[in-house]
């Protein structure tokens, strides 16, 4: 039995490709610290949350737009994409990136699952940014820079809050207006 249906695979591939594209866009912005990011590539991951939680209700579908493992596969694709675009795949930054992404992915998933009627893409995006930054700073304190890494934390958190806000608002708008998204939600793609 295949792990994903063809439609599900296509969705993951599409979102993964979007994430890769956004990583490239993000690469244009200067970064004072190598693992400091705007988090644009997080957008597909946030959007993907909406796919795991909703049912298609169509006959012949396995019930869900995307199983949970599809969500984590997308996060893995996102991290790999960022690693390739930024050229950090074989460095310690990649480990920071992967742990930050999965930590924030997990929190976003939990928030989406348990706070659902009262939380939107906006809150989820901000929580994700917060957790990702905290995880990466914590790792850099433990493994590389030592206690003085606390000093850069305000920068991370400030930028994370602003970019998380903007990306969350964009995700809200995008999921309402996009015809592509409507097609996925309608089970056509």
């Amino acid at each position: 039995m295949p792990v994903f249906t063809e439609k599900q695979l296509n969705r993951i591939a599409m979102l993964g490709a979007l994430s890769l594209f956004l990583s490239t866009v993000e690469y244009l912005f200067p970064r004072p610290i190598p693992f400091m990011r705007l988090g644009l590539a997080n957008l597909p991951v946030i959007l993907c949350l909406d796919l795991i939680s909703s049912k298609t209700g169509k006959a012949g579908e396995p019930g869900e737009f995307l199983p949970l493992r599809g969500y984590f596969l997308l996060i893995l694709l996102k991290v790999l994409g960022q690693g390739m675009v930024n050229g950090t795949m074989a460095s310690y930054i990649f480990l920071f990136s992967i742990s930050g992404s999965f930590a924030s992915g997990l929190i976003m998933l939990l928030a989406w699952r348990f706070l659902r009627p009262d939380i939107s893409f906006l809150g989820v995006s901000i929580l994700g940014a917060l957790v990702s930054n905290m995880a990466q700073i914590l790792l850099s304190i433990i493994f590389i820079f030592g206690a003085s890494a606390w000093r850069i934390l305000p920068w991370f958190l400030g930028i994370g809050l602003i970019s998380g806000l903007l990306i969350g608002l964009f995700a809200q708008r995008f999921s309402k207006k996009s015809r592509w998204w409507a097609a996925i939600k309608g089970g056509r793609i």
């Binding site: 939107s120 906006l122 809150g123 901000i126 917060l130 003085s148 000093r151 305000p154 708008r173």
Partner: protein, 122 residues
């Protein structure tokens, strides 16, 4: 476009964490740090908050280091060129001054959270 209850809560939480760490980083900056002196055969750690004069022995002779107003500097050294004296005062985290002939190295650090001073010698 709606902003829901937990969205607001998430923003507030994030803002709170941001402000807390900004505040603590700011507070850390205000505290004076320590002066680490590494000489030929010993290391000394002095708080920058107390004014004092320290005589350090090296292979060439004696170097005199002065701590004044939270800044440290060489005031005299028995070396030939006294480049160390010309390096001026150091105070912030990561700043340093050295007298190479006399093998004395000064560096200032932020406040030590680990490896704090056990005792002061007067």
């Amino acid at each position: 476009m709606k902003i829901l209850r937990y969205d607001v809560l998430a923003i507030l939480l994030s803002l709170l964490v941001f402000l807390f760490f900004t505040w603590s980083a700011y507070k850390q900056n205000g505290e004076t740090g320590y002066l680490l002196i590494e000489s030929m055969d010993a290391e000394f750690l002095y708080p920058l908050s107390e004014d004092r004069e320290i005589h350090v022995k090296g292979p060439v002779g004696e170097s005199i280091v002065e701590i004044h107003n939270g800044e440290a500097k060489f005031t005299h050294s028995d070396c030939s060129d006294e480049l160390c004296v010309q390096m001026g005062s150091i105070s912030g985290p990561g700043e340093w001054a050295a007298c190479l002939p006399n093998e004395v190295f000064l560096s200032t650090t932020g406040n030590h959270t680990e490896g704090d001073v056990d005792a002061g010698v007067y």
